[in-house]
């Protein structure tokens, strides 16, 4: 394990002493070796148990119906939609890192983009499950698609819920494509380094005949850039559409114009928190702190701080507009958040999302993994609470006091939430085990060149 970053340049994006060959060996070695850290087995084992719990919950849901969940009148949206929004928000960091930071030529994205993209794909899978199961009859989910069905009907195009279907499915498709296209050169490396026939065949098929030819690189670069261009608007559009699910309704606390930008910022906030949650342990277990350096952590902490402030601004505007609108119902909604039965969740949200991340102002703490991990977990919880507040507090007491009620997640709600966490972790751990978690090809562009040698972009530097 290299500890060298701690002695060298604190802003280096790659530890000293790395050459193209050592990078290839180190990253592909994680996948091709027979030795895996004990933690991998422990975490995967536990996560797989929870993933099985997900299977059990879904089966129970199919055979019993969505009555096993907590939602009922007047709170018709519960954990299902809270968790949907939470997961899809987490998925946002992937595209932001892969697309926007690529277009902005932020080199520090390189070592975290692969795992962030994987995280995105798995988070979107978890997110997608919820609305489908929330329909109560998931086997009829194809009704959501505009296909010439036997009902002679199209979906309601004026409903934000159908925009959601398009936004999320587009996002899932583009994220998968982005992830896969980026993996192709690395699949070729694994294929060439593989010593077992089965590895050779599987990675070979996935590599799509990649031979490292100049023409391959040329097309790869074009495709990658095009995908980045296509997915950039998605970073903004997906969570904007998700926010319309609320903002297009007339419920107090939902019907606000600040929702789209503040949802997008919250999504990036949540996403970066999850990237930190995942990359800090990986860094320790796999000794890749010379590739995911302190500089990376520092930058991510800054993104967290910046988006955290946008989110905080969103909360402030929300609260101000409740007062400024002069609407009794909006005013009541705010007071109900502050002093109502869910006051604890609201104040915890302000603590975890707004207050605690402020420790990131201190440069030393931005490079301290314990402080970072603490803030990341705090934001993970805070962003979950945010959706809880938006959905539950607005619905449980709206216009008519006679229709007020209370909501609490049932044990099956919790089981499914833990289940998706298990599914997500299992999928991510399998990714770490079977795919290169850091882009080998792109990392090579960061290797310092010998003096006198000048080469082009990533493509030219990626030969090994």
């Amino acid at each position: 394990m290299s500890q060298s970053t701690h002695h060298g340049d604190p802003d280096a994006l790659i530890g000293p002493g790395h050459t193209m060959a050592t990078l290839t060996d180190k990253i592909s070695g994680i996948v091709l070796t027979q030795k895996h850290p004990l933690q991998w087995f422990a975490i995967t084992g536990i996560a797989a148990i929870f993933a099985s719990l997900l299977g059990l919950t879904v089966l129970n849901l199919f055979f019993t119906g969505i009555g096993v969940w907590g939602p009922n009148n007047p709170v018709g949206w519960g954990f299902d939609i809270i968790n949907f929004v939470w997961w899809i928000g987490i998925g946002h960091a992937g595209t932001l890192i892969s697309a926007i930071l690529l277009l902005l030529k932020q080199e520090w994205r390189t070592s975290i983009n692969r795992s962030a993209e994987a995280m995105t794909v798995f988070a979107v899978m978890c997110a997608g499950m919820y609305p489908l199961l929330h329909t109560g009859r998931p086997w009829l989910a194809y009704w959501l698609l505009p296909i010439p069905n036997t009902m002679g009907m199209w979906p309601q195009f004026r409903s934000p819920l159908i925009w959601d279907v398009f936004a999320v499915s587009t996002y899932a498709t583009v994220s998968m494509l982005f992830w896969y296209v980026g993996l192709i050169p690395d699949f070729a490396v694994l294929r060439d380094k593989a010593t077992k026939k089965v590895q050779k065949v599987v990675y070979g098929m996935l590599a799509l005949g990649w031979r490292n030819a100049a023409r391959h690189w040329d097309r790869y670069e074009t495709a990658y850039l095009l995908l980045a261009g296509m997915s950039t608007p998605l970073v903004l559009s997906v969570h904007t559409v998700v926010s319309f699910d609320f903002a297009a309704g007339i419920i107090p606390g939902w019907h606000t114009t600040v929702f789209p930008p503040y949802f997008v910022a919250g999504a990036i906030f949540a996403g970066f928190a999850m990237v930190l949650t995942l990359s800090i342990p990986l860094r320790i277990w796999y000794g890749v702190d010379d590739l995911i350096t302190d500089k990376h952590l520092d930058n991510m902490a800054k993104v967290l701080l910046a988006t955290g402030w946008i989110v905080t601004y969103g909360y402030a505007v929300e609260a101000f507009m409740c007062f400024y609108s002069g609407s009794t119902y909006e005013e009541f909604m705010l007071l109900n958040r502050l002093k109502g039965p869910y006051w604890f969740q609201y104040w915890s949200l302000l603590l975890t999302n707004c207050l605690l991340p402020q420790i990131m102002w201190i440069p030393k703490l931005r490079r301290n993994i314990w402080a970072l991990y603490f803030v990341a977990m705090s934001v993970n919880i805070g962003m979950w609470l945010e959706r809880y507040i938006i959905i539950v507090v607005s619905l449980h007491r709206d216009f008519l006091p006679s229709s007020w009620g209370m909501y609490a997640g049932s044990r099956w709600d919790w089981a499914m939430f833990l289940g998706t966490l298990g599914f997500f972790t299992t999928a991510f751990m399998l990714f770490v085990r079977f795919l290169p978690m850091i882009s080998i090809a792109e990392m090579k562009a960061l290797v310092p060149h010998k003096p006198g040698l000048t080469t082009g972009g990533r493509g030219a530097a990626a030969h090994h």
């Binding site: 009902m151 002679g152 050779k200």
Partner: protein, 220 residues
């Protein structure tokens, strides 16, 4: 270790993209159309009944009016299934010992119902009313087909929602004069010398027929 894939794999993999695309398209088409097949909607399949009642004979050859048996079709949502005494009106004299009619006689003796299997069985979530259709000039034939030519009763149409909507969106394509509702094989061109289009629009106007496509029209 040497490479496992020969050069020809390149061609194969390119071809597989096309094949995969075709497979996906085919599966998609199949998924959409499976509910339109008679395999799923059991359209055009005669259904087993306790008595092999034939509409061909009763309607076609004897010319009995639909309302003789389906007595409530003009006043009720339900067209009505005749009590066995309606059958026995004739069959206490005609074919009075035929073994095939034993279930009818038995029900008459015991004052029980003949257990017919419903042929046009709409789902519970669909509200349907016969009387409004019949009174606005939708012929029996338009939905039930040439019943006078069905030796055993079967569903002429799929009863898929798109089928209902085809008429609800454009009723003029099916309307006929009110006194022709119970006639089988009625044709506006032959009988009146006008096209269905022309007649339909006129009847739509006269009888105040509206295109009803609101969800709550049928799903109440």
């Amino acid at each position: 270790m040497a490479q496992v894939f020969p050069k020809s794999s390149n061609t194969l993999s390119k071809a597989s993209i096309v094949v995969a695309g075709l497979v996906v398209a085919a599966l998609g088409l199949a998924t959409i159309n499976i509910n339109r097949t008679t395999y799923v909607n059991t359209q055009s399949m005669p259904i087993d009944q306790v008595v092999q009642f034939t509409h061909t004979h009763h309607v076609g050859s004897l010319g009995i009016d639909c309302r003789f048996c389906h007595f409530s079709v003009e006043e009720s949502s339900f067209a009505g299934i005749p009590p066995s005494k309606t059958c026995m009106g004739c069959h206490s004299v005609v074919w009075k010992d035929a073994p095939i009619l034993e279930p009818v006689r038995e029900s008459y003796r015991n004052d029980t119902s003949v257990e017919w299997t419903r042929v046009h069985d709409l789902p519970e979530f669909v509200y349907f009313n016969h009387s409004i259709h019949v009174n606005k000039g939708v012929g029996c034939e338009s939905c039930h087909g040439r019943v006078d030519k069905m030796p055993l009763m079967m569903r002429e149409n799929s009863l898929n929602m798109e089928w209902c909507l085809a008429c609800h969106r454009a009723p003029e394509k099916f309307l006929r004069p009110k006194d022709k509702v119970f006639t089988m094989g009625w044709d506006p061109v032959k009988e009146l010398g006008v096209s269905q289009e022309e007649l339909g629009l006129k009847l739509k106007e006269e009888n105040h027929v509206q295109s009803r496509t609101n969800c709550a029209t049928c799903h109440r």
